[in-house]
Amino acid sequence: MTNNPATGVLDRDGLSALIEVLAAQGRTVIGPTVRDGAIVLAEIGSADDLPFGWGSEVEAGRYRLVPRADGAVFAHTAGPQSWKTFLHPQREKLWSAERTPDGALSVTEDDPEQTSYAFLGVRPCDLRAITIQDRVLAGGRYPDRGYRERRTGAFLIAAECTEPGATCFCVSMGGGPAVDGSGFDLALTEVLDQGGHRFLVRVGSEAGRDALDGVPHAPADAETEYAARAAVDAARDRMGRAMPPVDLRTLMGESLEADRWDDVAARCLTCGNCTMVCPTCFCTTTEEVTDLTGDHAERWLRWDSCFDVAFSHLHGGPVRASARSRYRQWLTHKLSTWYEQFGSSGCVGCGRCVTWCPVGIDITEEAAALHDERAGRLRHEKQKETQR
């Protein structure tokens, strides 16, 4: 919070006004809403669409919305979606191809109208997830054009965490409930006390300042700032889970033949839920679609999962046929080989994979078990050495 001086305080009407200002700029404003018993990211028109008075109770394999007496709007934890739903959509047309009667081919790159998004309520873990996907999809030699355009045009309003859930472990992944540094346009911190229900606003960009200038707001006061900081600081110590405090990269690299993979494979349904809800999982496959004439073809991209047995298909069969190898691929990629490929961990500690696993497999518990197994192995080797 030190890098960005507080610049204002909004109330609920101010939040509505902010949504209107962004919509007037031609943006599609997306925020948390309540639908089907879950927090669902959807287009919003005013603050009334936001989940005021809703919290969530989560555990491994469990998610419930619960009413909150205090009327808080950002006191819920992550729902099943993340912002990748919009920046890296589930289905996207890549190109169309036509074949003329003489067999000549012409290929046209699809150029859809790109939506200009404003995201309201991006949690610090999800903000990190967006920067990770930036490196994967837009940072290499061949930037994904669609992603880059959607991302460049997106306006991000972060919401600091004051109410972490039982499956949250961002702090142990080097993140935290606070929004630090850059990467956002505005950052909100919800404050609920005798002074009323309000949001401390910090500005993170020129576009953020412009938007805030168009919205009625009070100057930031010391009391609101203090309360906001205290709430976020307290959240840091209330994470429901933690990764084992070891170098996960080395742990995974040295655990490729661990017995624990058999243990987790006996529980894992290889359904791929964890990859769908993960805010950084980016894998896709392509589909070839033709019309009835056979002279018009389209290439579509859609999300894929390393848990699908066809994912590693080569002629002769899949490389990773067993559940053991597919779970290992997911976990080692997320926590270890991601560094080699994209310069960071692929996990931000949002806890979605724990919450939305139908059998409650817990990534932190699996990492801890792998750590215990490796520690036991190392002890055993040392004993053998001293006996010699």
């Binding site: 190109w95 081919l105 012409s106 392509t286 002629h315």
Partner: protein, 272 residues
């Protein structure tokens, strides 16, 4: 061009074996791809069916040759094409063999089955500039005589006394077979190279790559100078689809040609 396939005309089709053809592809319009280095690959698009990665098997001035074995829907569609048809091409992608790094050294190229195709442009380039290198060896393995790619060319090389020492072997001999019988690794005994000053290039099934690299190491070739070409599922070739991972290696970006110093530990883990 990395995003969208560039139309190419099939200007030549040659049946190599019962299930393998070589397609000569020439840009159909003004647009052409950047030049390919030996070992690099293109995504080859069969209209209405899909795309597969295929290494180049010859690089001409304007045209490219891809040698394709029919093993799935896309490769079957490509193998059924005739001159006059069109395909789409994206590329070039991936790392090449990097022949230039072998200047002054002996060269040992070892191939198994269709693995001869990605190594052919390297052999042609090394042979054409043989004074820049030490001794050149090409060791070709095939299941049978009938499965041997470029059989006439391989035989001509094997019988010539030029700068290239070529030996070929099959697992099961059939009438008319003129070469050796046995695993391709046995040919290393007749190759001429000084291990400490050798770069090796290996392409074929993974089990053959493992055995060949083991024997080369045993003879004293440095692990980082054993360059192998690996195969994984690829959907995008641009590092975004995640399919081609082998541990930390994104095969389309960091491969397909990588050093044995990096590949060894990865290929020793089952189902990685």
């Amino acid at each position: 061009m990395s995003d969208v396939p560039v139309p190419h005309l099939v200007t030549g089709m040659r049946r190599e074996t019962a299930d393998t053809v070589s397609l000569t592809l020439t840009p159909a319009g003004q647009e052409a791809l950047e030049p390919f280095a030996p070992g690099q690959f293109a995504m080859v698009y069969a209209f209405g069916v899909g795309e597969i990665p295929v290494s180049v098997s010859r690089v001409g001035r304007r045209e490219l040759v891809h040698t394709i074995r029919s093993v799935g829907a896309v490769s079957a569609a490509l193998c059924a094409l005739r001159p006059g048809s069109q395909v789409g091409l994206r590329g070039p992608f991936g790392t090449g063999w990097e022949l230039e790094r072998a200047a002054g050294q002996d060269i040992v190229a070892v191939t198994g089955g269709i693995g001869l195709a990605p190594l052919r442009p390297l052999v042609l380039a090394a042979r054409a500039a043989h004074r820049a290198y030490g001794r050149l060896n090409l060791l070709v393995g095939s299941r049978t005589f009938e499965d041997l790619l470029y059989a006439d060319q391989v035989r001509a090389w094997a019988e010539s006394h030029g700068p290239l020492l070529c030996r070929a072997t099959v697992d099961r001999p059939s009438p008319g077979w003129w070469g050796h019988v046995g695993l391709v690794t046995t040919l290393l005994n007749s190759a001429r190279f000084v291990p400490e000053n050798t770069t090796a290039y290996v392409c074929g099934p993974e089990v053959m790559i493992r055995a060949t690299a083991r024997d080369l190491l045993h003879r004293g070739v440095r692990a980082d100078r054993i360059r192998v070409s690996l195969e994984r599922n690829m959907r995008c070739a641009t590092g975004h689809c995640g399919h081609c991972q082998l541990g930390g290696v994104l095969m389309c970006r960091d491969g397909p040609v990588i050093g044995w110093d990096r590949a060894a530990s990865l290929l020793m883990v089952r189902e990685l």
